[in-house]
Symmetry: C2
Subunit: 269 residues, 2 copies
Amino acid sequence: MAKDWSPDGFILDLDGTVYTGSRPIPGAAEAVAYLRAKGKRIVFLSNRGNISRRMCRERLEAIGIPCEAEDIILTSSVVSRYLAEHEPDARVWVLGEQGLRDELAAHGVRFAARPQEADRLVVTLHETLTYAELNDAFRAVRAGARIIATNADRTFPGEDGEAIDVGGLLAALTHTTGTEVDTVVGKPSPLMAEAALDRLGLPPERCMVIGDSLASDIAMGRRMGLRTALVLTGSATREAAMALDEAERPDWILDSLADIRRLLEEMER
Amino acid sequence: MAKDWSPDGFILDLDGTVYTGSRPIPGAAEAVAYLRAKGKRIVFLSNRGNISRRMCRERLEAIGIPCEAEDIILTSSVVSRYLAEHEPDARVWVLGEQGLRDELAAHGVRFAARPQEADRLVVTLHETLTYAELNDAFRAVRAGARIIATNADRTFPGEDGEAIDVGGLLAALTHTTGTEVDTVVGKPSPLMAEAALDRLGLPPERCMVIGDSLASDIAMGRRMGLRTALVLTGSATREAAMALDEAERPDWILDSLADIRRLLEEMER
């Protein structure tokens, strides 16, 4: 990396980077406060689609990171905006939790009364999933609903270890229906990066994305021309990062978000 | 088919052939009574792994088909016998319902106390599945448990339409863990056909399998040298059957099990 570069904007992943479930990553709140004190702009960008921005903001404030709801970009809000803008007449069936329904309703998206009447199935993480709900989603797809997913991550770092993410639910649906997923909103999709850069008001080359997922955070950053830093507090290991081709590897590997201070000091020395 | 052949033994599928959920297929009970009156031997062979033979026997009796528990061959009993015989020291974790646990316990199979301690994950249909249970199964596999499944059918004919079968749960697990399924007990596996022929006490060339699934019933019959008849009261259509290569096509296609009487009368005329 060029010695004379340092970022003006930061796109911070949440699960596995800032917190793990309800537990903060040690030093994360201090790192965010430090960046803000240095005048850096920050948005939080998560593939979580099962919570609303309001719920997420409360979670961040509980661990000492105050922010505006607009500084939080979740797949629940991005998928809602996408549907409202591109498919305003679509009736949707939701496989997901209330947080997603709240965001969809807030964007004026219409809900189907029965799975068989849906034009779109919206899938997100659903930690209270039941077989009956999975089956309703299956029936929506069999009746012709196209699948839009908040994200396609296979796993996420849960409070008591790695857990099945949306990718697992999608695999169950695509395998049993023979229908592929139509649209994935979440990282590494450009939809997410564009929403983040919009909010930051900065060009990609002035920004750094920091996250724990090679497939989501780092891949998105690489694709969009952002600088990338992997943290080792979540899904990925240093070995997995180093095993990638150079073009896919993160620019930096940090033990945790707390190390961003040291990295920035080195850059700006 | 040779005009001079008629079967001595019948292997009858259950879901979609004899009943659909709790509803009998019209004429099925009469067909079974007719075959018995003709001195034909009958076993019932189902990929269901979420019920015990006792539960299944009660269900058959409720629709007018009395039988011995030993005339019912389910994947729950076959997987239990398989594990007891081949892996007596294995500790298993179950993704499935009480019926499977009952059969495993009856065969002396040992249960792991935690997913992480399991040598084997046994997966079956689970109509009250929750995310937490799916996640426990995921954790068992991540910790090294090999996957054995009662069956790998993608869908089954439920009371209110096609529903997600074990194949969907397996897809969620294999996609998120990167681990393939080790053993599938159910049709078309020879384990099932062998159990059925054992009970009938007949060689395969004297027997006919009747079922609604091309991938399970007909494929198993073809593979094991049994004559095969597809019924159109479940998963498959006539068109799907005719689209297969001749070597995979059923020998006969019946609108329903009730038509076995007419077929047998033609054979024996």
